[in-house]
Symmetry: D2
Subunit: 357 residues, 4 copies
Amino acid sequence: MLRVGMLTSGGDCQALNAAMRGVAKSLFNQCSEVEIYGFTDGYKGLIYGEYRLLKNDDFSGILNIGGTILGSSRMPFKYIGVPLEDGSDKIERMIDTYKKLNLDCLVVLGGNGSHKTANLLREKGLNVLTLPKTIDNDLAETEISFGFQSAVDIATNAIDCIHTTAASHSRVFIVELMGHKTGWLTLHAGIAGGADIILIPEIPYSIEAISQAIAKRTASGKRFTIIAAAEGAISKEEAAMSKKELKLLRKQENYASTAYRIGAAIEEKTGQEVRVTVPGHVQRGGQPVAYDRVLATRLGVRAAELILNHEYGYMVGVKDNKIVKISLCDVAGKTKMVDPGNELITQARQLGICLGE
Amino acid sequence: MLRVGMLTSGGDCQALNAAMRGVAKSLFNQCSEVEIYGFTDGYKGLIYGEYRLLKNDDFSGILNIGGTILGSSRMPFKYIGVPLEDGSDKIERMIDTYKKLNLDCLVVLGGNGSHKTANLLREKGLNVLTLPKTIDNDLAETEISFGFQSAVDIATNAIDCIHTTAASHSRVFIVELMGHKTGWLTLHAGIAGGADIILIPEIPYSIEAISQAIAKRTASGKRFTIIAAAEGAISKEEAAMSKKELKLLRKQENYASTAYRIGAAIEEKTGQEVRVTVPGHVQRGGQPVAYDRVLATRLGVRAAELILNHEYGYMVGVKDNKIVKISLCDVAGKTKMVDPGNELITQARQLGICLGE
Amino acid sequence: MLRVGMLTSGGDCQALNAAMRGVAKSLFNQCSEVEIYGFTDGYKGLIYGEYRLLKNDDFSGILNIGGTILGSSRMPFKYIGVPLEDGSDKIERMIDTYKKLNLDCLVVLGGNGSHKTANLLREKGLNVLTLPKTIDNDLAETEISFGFQSAVDIATNAIDCIHTTAASHSRVFIVELMGHKTGWLTLHAGIAGGADIILIPEIPYSIEAISQAIAKRTASGKRFTIIAAAEGAISKEEAAMSKKELKLLRKQENYASTAYRIGAAIEEKTGQEVRVTVPGHVQRGGQPVAYDRVLATRLGVRAAELILNHEYGYMVGVKDNKIVKISLCDVAGKTKMVDPGNELITQARQLGICLGE
Amino acid sequence: MLRVGMLTSGGDCQALNAAMRGVAKSLFNQCSEVEIYGFTDGYKGLIYGEYRLLKNDDFSGILNIGGTILGSSRMPFKYIGVPLEDGSDKIERMIDTYKKLNLDCLVVLGGNGSHKTANLLREKGLNVLTLPKTIDNDLAETEISFGFQSAVDIATNAIDCIHTTAASHSRVFIVELMGHKTGWLTLHAGIAGGADIILIPEIPYSIEAISQAIAKRTASGKRFTIIAAAEGAISKEEAAMSKKELKLLRKQENYASTAYRIGAAIEEKTGQEVRVTVPGHVQRGGQPVAYDRVLATRLGVRAAELILNHEYGYMVGVKDNKIVKISLCDVAGKTKMVDPGNELITQARQLGICLGE
């Protein structure tokens, strides 16, 4: 009897269910004796021993459903060290549950924070496999994670809609996109949506450069400018500040979010009216696009293969467009940023897109 | 020779092109000698005599394209009285252009403000027909206007996406929707998206009632609450203020928009974390849904019929689900609000949706 | 204690779940003691006493899910008279189940066939309410049924896609759409998608007229022609045949479906290459559009109101854009055809669309 | 002055405009003196010297528009050798046009047939660059071509809709997908849509195996089976035939298309009712997904870079997920088939998908 635990951790995204279905359908198909334990609400379920025994049918009809059938929750890495109310250690409690259930393996679907915890469990001797889940695409060592392409599609559609309506308004539009501390989502959606200006955290912007780009468009007869701004976008001045100074500044300014801050600066500088769109969590929801379903399924099927081969301690990811296994210790604790020397960045510049520089 | 002028005025929306195509294809098909003059950027083009002579082919392939091939601009009613730079009167200038081109009729596609101007032109003796264009659905005397159903679909999809992602976050989500001073868009999208709480301007809310609704959901085991809030939503206290007091209050508070204001009040009252989504102008853009294309086409075809019958001074609208002509003087200067005794409101209550009361 | 039975019957469509949710949420919200029995697979479940007791939570999260949580099945009217294997009468068996469960009311969501059966049950003394479910929009006495607008959207998108690709191919494209014996779906999608020729059962076509319309387009420089053809479209010659003759002809010809038959005739007549698209059951599936969700919800809420008022023997439908109750005996056994004198038909002609005449 | 010719050839697909925009915007941005000549309707325009001089603005607003602003046409390779009506040679005529316009380079966006012709032109000394355009994904030496992922999304949505509706019908559904002689599109959409059986040309099927898979599903309580069948799917018996025999057989059978043929065989073998869906050209149309827009843009920008570097004789493609140049002679005349030992095929088997074997 093969006994596999499974949990989804962190902010959810599209294709989580597709990935779990890939693991499960593949195991049920290739192995006559399998038990899959789905932990409720991420690591919480593992800590408190809350789970459901999942059957083959539980994974039917979920391929194109957003969210996660297991529930998720954020329990950031920094809190791992804090003991539970009863004084017990979280990691110890997780190991207890794992052992009580006599699991052969734990499959974790998560992003950056979740990988740190997964790696800790691996170091403690558990058999752990992970799948890269994030719309931010900021997991190290994998070219892509599932959720990303679906979020890019939603963000792109938002820019499309703004495009249709922008022409009649002679204004500057800012669409604020997710991506946490990285610019992947904004960069891809910005190019796919034909944004005129793209602002990402990795390339701090100057309002001066943005204003010049807007002025250049106006001069060439364009009636509007569309800016795709990552939630983590930051000005050159802000990037030069210490964390503490920046935190203080943000508190003083009291903007609802990044796009409002940038918008205010542009209005002040150019006198032009600015309109802000914040799709927010919409980017995490809805049905996964076909690309993500195939990707998530493939990653899941490969995870099942590793389980059947007793290979543990890996994240299943993508390198050179191939499904590969990557040592968990190479992933945990790292963030994949957009390299400003990246080819896509160079191409954006060649296209004439202003990057706020 | 029949000579028809056409313009699109105010904030744009979906199916403007479909409506113009309906008028034009219908005229070209039924009448051997037609000239259609498309004025650029709404009434501006009529004032300054900026137009294009449009051919049958100009209306091909635009049925499903958002925006307007003529361009639009806002020139609110209150500015109509202000003379142009050269001292000339705007209305006079429009009449001049109309007469110089020897037009038989002017077709105006617009919302509330545009209808006031259209009616002024009618009073001055021009042959005017209008088509009801607004995602707000706030035009008097017509059950529906084109653009509305497309905007409802976009807003509903946003709530759908939030639904998928909400379950894993144990939070309150507020989706701020358009609608100007009315709640039509929010009411329809809120019901279609399964929002738990719907806040519209016509029914001022109390934070107390909202908090109780949230608490009730939490008590019954629900992990999240989704609030659809109209951009014009207002609290009972605010609704009791004078315009001046309210304006002052808004300035002092300095919230980015309605949802942030409501969110802050809920966080303060309940201690729960609130997330805000502001789709903004996205709701005006993109392709029209099939419903809007058929509606806009039908309204356009009927306008052409009125032109061929020399019947002027009407808005073409919908009553009892039938295409009808409505005297412009019955439309101009009025706003269609959601009647709190409205059947849809009653049904929302029957469903258990909290309306903030 | 209020005890309500519910079943979905016939070919499924979008917004079935939304309608059931409307009934249920409304009852649970307004009435402290309710039991809802969901019969499995339509009337079959009622005959064989197969059902589930449904809780409030069973209706959560299904508003935007296609299909039906109860399952459905076709059991056409003509078979009602045929006794079951054990010799028992179907109607008697249904009444037995109804009485055994001590139901106060049975809510049936169905199309034409299902309404006949519902009316039979009413005549036998059961308390029956129905909701109009069909993408064909062919139910008598209601302006619209849920499912229709979602199907129109899917069909319209198909025509849109053909439009994009048609320009490069200099061909005739036929898109075959559903609608059973009526042309509602094809008429609406054809107008929304900008089809050049629309063929519906109510207006038999002549290949001669179609060929002329194609030739006229070619002469005016158009590179392609798009035909929206209802699955029930029929030629003038065929319409003049007896049922028996037609059946024989269809058998001899052996075309895969209507569009192939029409396509072959056009190719023979004009020598032009024809391409066929048959979206088929795709039109019944997927998520309901916002319009259908609101409509289905409203119909469901009204049904709940009728139940609470002990008013039975009605279909809840739409007249003059208002939610109304309609006596079941006025609906059962009738089909709502497109009246060739219908305003939409007149408008299609005014637009220059060829109707095959 | 840089003078660049551009043409789109063969069946059209999504993101053609995005790719051309990538080339053009990039050239206009980096080079002060550029002239771009857009040939009408593919190679035809090059032969007959029909073209438009395109400005920067001609490439604005087309990023998300399907089809091609240049028009396309099929002129299969085999006809290249046939002289024109006036006896002149097609290739010579193309060279004439190229030289008369004094072009520095010709950019061809096309599929397999178009690459053969492009390579012929290269052999004759013209400076040629190509971009891989096909929803079939069958171009050699590139991992992916634009159009493919958009077509996969449309095909997947069709399967999704069938899924929603299938449950109530206890039937076998066959969705026939494009892909020409290869199975890429069907394989990806089949996995993304959760098809139970996937039939592709590279793995000839046996009706016996398909029937067993259906029986197995029925035995395990599943109410329906969904088959994704490539238009080029072929049975083992047929695959063993000579081309001539097969042609004769197809003529005798006279099925409307592949799915009808397979459907008839399944009905005969199993007695089960089969429903067929043929989305057809819908798969080539509509707006490109974000993935394709980014891909097409990147390929176009790289082509511009090669032009500026005077590097010719290449197709710009993707290897190991990187944008690369590939010698035209390595691409022309080859077809990229799905290798039955392909990892995705193995994974489909691991998932329990029947491949008709």
